[in-house]
């Protein structure tokens, strides 16, 4: 059971992530001025679902906060206040707190209670309840009961739109979402046996009260005394009373059911959601001290000599009676003299807590049709394999021909399967992008700037591993954009720009890669300053002549800046080399364009997957190696006359007037002893480029093929090797190394101690 609970909890957390995304999306839409009823509903629903789920796992902190959040959102939904900029801001802040609380429940860092309290107070302010949250909740609970057909548990004027059934998604969230509609009505009548066992009706009521408190609500209890005889006729150990309890809408049927887990044999009870009884008009329970009304809801009592319940209009359909639920017992559902009850609930609670501490299992949700596509392809693969098998038994020439054809069709099938699997692993970048909203929000509040982040192309899909690894670089870049890119509001106004800064984060597919751009409308890179700083730090010589782009790229140079010092500069540069490394390790490239006064655009170009790459098979000193095709600019055969020796023994090659370091691959990788081949005449070279655009020429023995290779980590299987980023297994079964072009180029540039562009500049001079 415990592992079942873990699974359920995991699913809950996954759903929380989805709901938080939904929330973020909705709030973003609201802040963009969209106030569609559906958007507000979606936001409300998201918070409500989180609350509902959390309640069933006894995640009190989460439930409490979500409840306040939900209350405030309900004010918005019912039109009591409008989604103004300030209101949405408070909601966004609350969302961050909520998301942290989810994380806390998952076993993450504990959320600062002051932060929670602050957000709590802000939410209460918005909904106009001040600190009087409980009182307001009590009032709402009362108010909701008469409005038995209203799906909205709040005391607003019944505007027609509000009576629209909330259009829930027909997915997992459906059951969770229903509680939004109405209060939960619990009626129960203890049997004599309940008291005989030493239990008490009181414990059930306490259990229900606790349930309500978990959702920051209160219960409304009505005691039915109609069956109570005069004292003289009363048998002391006979049970006569029954109760009707109205629980807040946030309490789920399941958790209410759990209260009766240990008394289901000794107690008649029914649990009904008020929303389910729209068709059956009911007297408002507020006027329910009249016994008949109450009894009407009761199921008949068998072992009882008291007057049977008065016939009354059927009110509700008990939807869940006697469904012993092993799972989410509420903590303290049965305090007092019900040891079994409390033991059970504490066990369940314990299970929930253990689960919370368990590391998160990686899992993804995949559209069913993608799996179906994959299945179809696998089916075809089986057929193709059978065809090849039968063809291979034939010896005639025609058979051979067909076999070749069959193999080639299998090849294309394999490609298709590969694509299909990639599609399964692909995830929209939305998850990461939406997290960035928070990064920008926090950074801008820290720097006292007003900045709007616009997301574009969030549906662009990339491999899951890539999605996860994008978070850090993007966070860094966005913080940087907020901190250094966007000017202070005063400076912006002085420059004739709106005080509110704007950053666009977008993603798109471009020629088999994903292109992510971060564009701000700030002051742009102050090249003069970057140049001066680079000179000061010895990154470049003082007389270096650099193009604008080269200066821009300086900010990525390691050693260009150390965070503490550079944060005093107006230019960019805080830890950008870290970003660059991260992007490079993902096989990506960074580009910068900056217009002074207009803003800066950073572009990340990344492969769609980290698992497979298109590579060029080359050989050097008898070893076959793979060079990622994305870093190969051109291939050519050179003459000795193009090669110039430098005093330190290294060589540069001039290609159409461009000079670049010459890297004898076999020597650099220590595959061969001779430092350079005697003559470079007719040598094959590959011009390769690293992410910052620095080029070098690799001398190889021959170019063999161009193929797709599956990347296998060499670090996890062996250890890191200079110049090698990974390994792969070739078609003939041999292991081949995938070269790390960036490292090779960097080492070559290091050898000649200067950027290639500088050589160019010097040669030209």
């Amino acid at each position: 059971m415990s592992s079942d609970m873990d699974d359920i909890l995991q699913i809950f957390f996954q759903e929380c992530d989805e709901q938080l995304q939904e929330l973020e999306r909705g709030l973003s839409a609201l802040s963009d001025g969209e106030s569609e009823h559906e958007t507000v509903n979606a936001v409300f629903r998201a918070v409500h679902s989180i609350k509902g789920g959390a309640a069933s796992f006894g995640l009190d902190n989460l439930v409490r906060f979500a409840h306040v959040f939900e209350n405030s959102l309900d004010g918005l939904r019912s039109g009591r206040f409008a989604p103004t900029h300030d209101v949405v801001k408070v909601f966004l802040k609350a969302m961050d707190v909520l998301s942290d609380l989810v994380n806390e429940a998952r076993g993450g860092a504990t959320v600062d209670s002051a932060r929670v309290a602050e957000s709590h107070a802000e939410l209460a302010d918005i909904s106009g309840t001040g600190g009087n949250q409980n009182a307001s909740q009590a009032a709402t609970t009362e108010d909701v009961i008469p409005a038995d057909f209203s799906p909205v548990p709040m005391d607003f004027e019944p505007v027609p739109t509000d009576f629209e059934p909330v259009p829930f998604d027909f997915d997992f969230g459906e059951e969770e979402a229903t509680p939004a509609a109405a209060s939960l009505l619990v009626t129960f009548r203890p049997h004599d046996a309940l008291y005989e066992r030493g239990d008490d009706a009181r414990n059930i009521l306490i259990g229900l009260t606790d349930l309500a408190r978990e959702c920051d609500g209160e219960i409304q209890t009505t005691c039915d005394r109609s069956a109570l005889p005069p004292l003289t006729d009363l048998l002391p150990d006979k049970s006569y009373l029954s109760w009707q309890v109205v629980l807040p809408p946030a309490v789920s049927e399941d958790s209410a059911n759990a209260v009766f887990d240990w008394v289901s044999e000794d107690c008649d009870f029914s649990i009904v959601r008020e929303g389910a009884e729209a068709a059956a008009p009911q007297e408002p329970p507020a006027e329910q001290p009249e016994p008949a009304e109450v009894v009407a809801v009761m199921p008949p009592v068998e072992d009882h000599e008291a007057p049977p319940p008065a016939p009354a209009p059927s009110v509700a359909h008990p939807i869940q009676i006697l469904s012993p639920l092993p799972a989410p017992a509420t903590p303290d559902a049965h305090p007092g003299p019900s040891p079994a009850g409390s033991a059970a609930s504490s066990t369940a609670n314990g299970a929930a807590q253990t689960a919370a501490r368990k590391p998160e299992q990686a899992s993804i949700r995949v559209d069913l049709h993608r799996i179906d596509d994959l299945m179809d392809l696998v089916g075809e693969l089986v057929i193709a394999q059978a065809a090849i098998e039968s063809l291979s038994r034939r010896t005639d020439a025609a058979g051979q021909h067909e076999l070749v054809q069959s193999i080639s069709s299998m090849q294309s099938l394999t490609r298709d399967i590969q694509d299909a699997v990639m599609a399964v692993r692909a995830q929209p970048v939305r998850a990461v992008f939406q997290r960035m909203q928070r990064v920008v929000r926090e950074a801008s509040s820290m720097t006292h700037k007003d900045i709007v982040l616009t997301l574009e192309g969030e549906d662009t899909e990339v491999d899951r591993t890539l999605v996860e690894k994008l978070t850090d670089p993007l966070t860094h870049m966005l913080r940087n954009a907020v901190d250094h890119g966007i000017e202070s509001p005063e400076a912006r106004i002085a420059a004739g720009k709106p005080a509110e800064g704007h950053i666009v984060l977008s993603a798109e597919h471009r020629s088999g890669r994903i292109l992510i751009t971060i564009k701000d409308d700030g002051a742009g890179i102050n090249r003069q300053r970057v140049f001066e700083t680079a000179v000061k730090r010895g990154v470049i010589p003082a007389d270096a002549v650099l193009s604008d782009e080269e200066i821009n790229n300086l900010i990525f140079m390691p050693g260009f800046s150390t965070a503490a010092q550079v944060s005093n500069l107006s230019g960019r540069g805080v830890g950008m080399d870290v970003v660059k490394q991260a992007i490079q390790s993902l096989g990506g490239r960074i580009s910068i364009s900056s217009v002074p006064g207009k803003g800066t655009t950073f572009g990340f170009s990344l492969p769609l997957t980290l698992a497979i790459l298109d590579g060029m098979l080359i050989s050097a000193s008898g070893s076959t190696m793979v060079i990622p095709i994305s870093s190969v600019i051109e291939t050519m055969i050179v003459n000795q006359s193009d090669v110039y020796a430098l005093p330190d023994g290294s060589n540069v090659i001039s290609i159409r007037g461009d000079c670049m370091p010459l890297i004898p691959l076999a020597t650099v990788l220590k595959l061969s002893n001779s430092s350079t081949p005697d003559s470079l005449d007719a040598s094959v070279i590959l011009v390769v480029e690293n992410e910052s655009g620095a080029r070098a020429a690799l001398i190889v023995d021959e170019i063999r093929d161009q193929t797709q290779v599956v990347i296998k980590s060499i670090e996890s299987n062996y250890r890191q090797i200079f110049g090698v980023s990974a390994a792969t297994i070739l078609g003939d079964g041999s292991v081949s190394l995938i070269l790390d072009v960036s490292a090779l180029v960097a080492s070559a540039i290091g050898h000649i101690d200067i950027k290639p562009s500088n050589i160019r500049a010097e040669l030209a001079a």
Binding site: G198, D200, R202, P229, L231, L241
Partner: protein
């Protein structure tokens, strides 16, 4: 649990003090006390009551005898049982005890 049940040796007009725990085990005793209070037309003194269970509640409700000086626990219990109105019924002739 019923150790501290006090004997109903009280003058007829004085409220009958109730035991500290009105749980299932005490219900018989309570019924006796309440019947005695009924006979003497006296009220019930709930000032020392710390626990009220469902069965004892039945006895108290059935008797209709006024409860004087209900302790905080009694108020809580009655609120829990949804019968708070029974406590506040204006039938407490001798509330001087609570003063």
């Amino acid at each position: 649990m019923t150790a501290d049940v006090e004997t109903p040796a009280v003058p007829s007009t004085a409220p009958v003090p109730l035991p500290e725990r009105l749980d299932t085990a005490t219900v018989g005793v309570l019924k006796g006390l309440v019947q005695q209070a009924e006979a003497t037309e006296s009220a019930l003194d709930a000032s020392g009551v710390a626990y009220v269970g469902g069965l004892c509640l039945q006895v108290l409700l059935a008797s209709g005898r006024p409860l004087v000086a209900p302790s905080e626990k009694v108020r809580e219990a009655f609120a829990l049982f949804g019968v708070s109105e029974f406590l506040s019924e204006p039938s407490t002739p001798s509330s001087e005890l609570s003063a």
